[in-house]
Symmetry: C2
């Protein structure tokens, strides 16, 4: 399989075909293209072309394409469709994808769109899903699943399952519920393949099944599913009734988004932006952190101003402030990144005190090695041993303090319920810059005896 | 479901039970615990206790626990097991997990372990998997899958499938091959549930199936599977023969590892380390980048030394070098992070030239806003308009240059086949520090007319 690659040539060809209204050729061309790739094409077209192309596709492809589009492109396209047309697309989609789209519609047309959906059961399920917070298991789950009652016999069960499976893209597990819809266990599809059809449900089901509460945090669901290698997990409400199912493909998205968010936070980008977003969006995501850096820089300048009397005899100290600031920043980012990942993977054992002791040893080791190199270099180069010593001693202390701050802040934030990823970015760099420079000049002053 | 949480109390209790050799109580206690959680417990025990506990578990749990352990803990435990005992565990595992474990064994015992495996077919599959590079689709795939020949009738097919499914944890898809084992298409399990059993395979199979080559990069496999929402993908060799299957749970691990690697690179940590690794491992991962920062800092000091004649009349310029360096670093990291993510998600369209123009506009906008704030502040505070102007003009230029470097370097690395993630870390911070300070003093000199 060669993965589809959207080239500039292909895009131009499609734009030309749309221009010339060569519908047959377009249809033939797109028939073999996967909906996720069609979405990629449409994301690149202008609004008019995108609407033209969407209307050309057959309805069950259109609906799948809609789920894969960039949010703003989808919004633009839906604006060009009638409530009835939107309802027809929702009809084709699983309830979770349909609910996501309805959730983005302007409020004044939601009612109309829902009432245009012919399958009333489907409409009811979508409305139910709209109730849940986007950022919860309920916001991720779909209503499509296969469930059987423990009171049934296998014959009823197989008949019911066939009917239910029609609406479910991937079956995974057959959930077993009691007469009050409470989740009791599961039947595995594999067991179904390899077991005689004569048995009774209550005798053959597996009474143990993992599930998550409808209010659970998606990140927690992702951790559970990836730790226990689950491909689907049932979702239950407060009193244990089966209300939906989350599948691994949605969890893959959660994991990727979470990783992207952490990466962006570490890089000092505060919102979920992409390279193709507008300059305005990108500025809003980047400027606040840069402003923080500016304030930090002004703070550092003020500190250095306080040591101005040293500038005549010890100008060299001032030349090394970028080095001190950079080392403080780097060490802080390194130690906080390790803590943030440990927290994300739930594999930090032991107390905060032990963490800090370990980081202190680690930073001391790194600090001494680096300071020794710097000492030899500056001494050989400038010939002023005392200055070189002042510089090196400060470097060791700065690295240790930076490592401790980098270790402590994410642990502290996590304890307070704040996403610790925020600490790896400019926040820690900036505070470490300031502390670093302050410590540096103070120690240099002591060593030089000024 | 309350997720399992390994507390210090629980760990102490288990250690005490091992100490007292209370086997029955331990067995009862661990019976209900998922193997992934048992692995978490064993990771925290010392070697002797770990081996004791592993030998207490029943064999099919032991094997699953082994796959979930930290690599060094697993190594220690396997050292305490005989070749026959290891072979018994491998017998219980899927071929991919078994091959991963065999791949970690000391070379001199591999032969013996393999020959102790009783199921010769299983042993052959494991040996075959050992051939493939760990970092390829072949290194990820398992031999367990359900395949049927297009020449069969449904009756043969169902009989064969039942036998094959015994060895396959999750069936997902039934692959259809011709008499030379070439992948032709698939039968879906859902179709099987909803179709009459009278049909013939060649009439009912779906002739379209996504597959990946055995040499494909795991990251590429992850992209394909997550883009097309696949839960399993067949792997074919160079001439299209079906050789294995990759399932989504392995891909979830690939995605997580990739994200962690990028995050660590961005934070200046060069190897895959965890918070609980030894100080020595952590130092090896962190020190090289810190050393790079040290070299950069010495470079910056040398540059400032070249402008020493300005220090008497314009000391304030030197106070602002940490600010300039920090801004150059932050902007560079931001712009490179956005490019790195765009490359990772394959959603960068258009030419390098356009990217650079966009970043230039973006950086200019941010630069002008920040410089205006800084100008007003330093002018009001110090009253030297010309110095404030020099500082602000340089800040704008430095931000633009830093943005361009941050945009260009990852694009350049990617074109050369190097992982662009390396560019978001200390590499770009350090080079931007140096360029930033150089530009800053040069411009200040022009503006102040020195």
């Amino acid at each position: 399989m060669t993965p589809f690659k959207l080239t500039d040539e292909l895009l131009q060809e499609i734009e030309q075909l749309i221009e010339d209204k060569k519908n047959l050729k377009l249809e033939a061309m797109l028939e073999e293209v996967h909906y996720a790739d069609v979405a990629e094409i449409i994301d690149e077209l202008d609004e008019e072309q995108a609407v033209y192309l969407i209307k050309l596709l057959d309805s069950d492809k259109t609906s799948d394409v809609l789920t894969e589009l960039d949010e703003d492109v989808r919004e633009a396209i839906l604006n060009n469709l009638s409530a009835k047309e939107i309802a027809e697309e929702l009809e084709e989609l699983d309830t979770d994808d349909a609910a996501d789209i309805v959730g983005e519609l302007p409020e004044d047309i939601v009612q109309e769109v829902i009432s245009e959906i012919e399958d009333k059961e489907h409409a009811k399920d979508i409305v139910e899903l709209l109730r849940y917070d986007e950022n919860s298991a309920g916001g991720l789950m779909a209503k499509e699943l296969v469930k059987v009652r423990e009171s049934w016999n296998v014959l009823t069960c197989v008949k019911e399952m066939r009917a239910q499976a029609e609406n479910v893209t991937r079956v995974h597990s057959i959930y077993v519920v009691d007469d009050n819809d409470k989740l009791k266990g599961r039947l595995s599809l594999k067991d179904l393949l390899t077991t005689s059809t004569k048995s009774h449900i209550s005798d053959i089901y597996i009474p143990k099944v993992d599930s998550v509460n409808v209010n659970e945090d998606p990140e927690e669901v992702a951790k559970i599913m990836s730790k226990y290698d689950l491909e689907a997990i049932p979702v239950v409400d407060e009193i244990g009734r089966l209300v939906g199912r989350i599948t691994i493909d949605d969890i893959v998205d959660v994991i990727k988004e979470e990783a992207e968010k952490d990466y962006q936070l570490a890089a000092g980008i505060s919102q979920d932006v992409e390279a193709d977003d507008s300059i305005w969006d990108l500025t809003r995501a980047r400027l606040p952190w840069l402003f923080l850096g500016l304030v930090g820089g002004v703070g550092a300048a003020a500190i250095m101003g306080g040591f101005e009397d040293m500038i005549r005899d010890h100008a060299i100290l001032f030349f090394f402030t970028p080095l001190i600031a950079a080392m403080a920043g780097n060490v802080g980012v390194q130690s906080s990144a390790i803590i943030v990942q440990g927290l994300a993977n739930d594999d930090l054992k032991g107390s905060v005190g032990n963490r800090l002791i370990k980081e202190m040893l680690l930073a001391s080791l790194n600090g001494v090695i680096l300071a020794a190199v710097l000492l030899l270099f500056t001494w050989a180069y400038k010939g002023e041993f005392l200055t070189a010593l002042a510089l090196s001693v400060s470097l060791i202390v700065v690295i240790i303090v930076a490592g401790l701050i980098g270790t402590f802040i994410p642990l502290f934030l996590d304890k307070r319920g704040i996403d610790p990823a925020i600490a790896t970015g400019p926040f820690i760099t900036t505070s470490n810059d300031i502390f670093g420079i302050l410590i540096y000049f103070w120690i240099a002053k002591q060593v030089l005896g000024i």
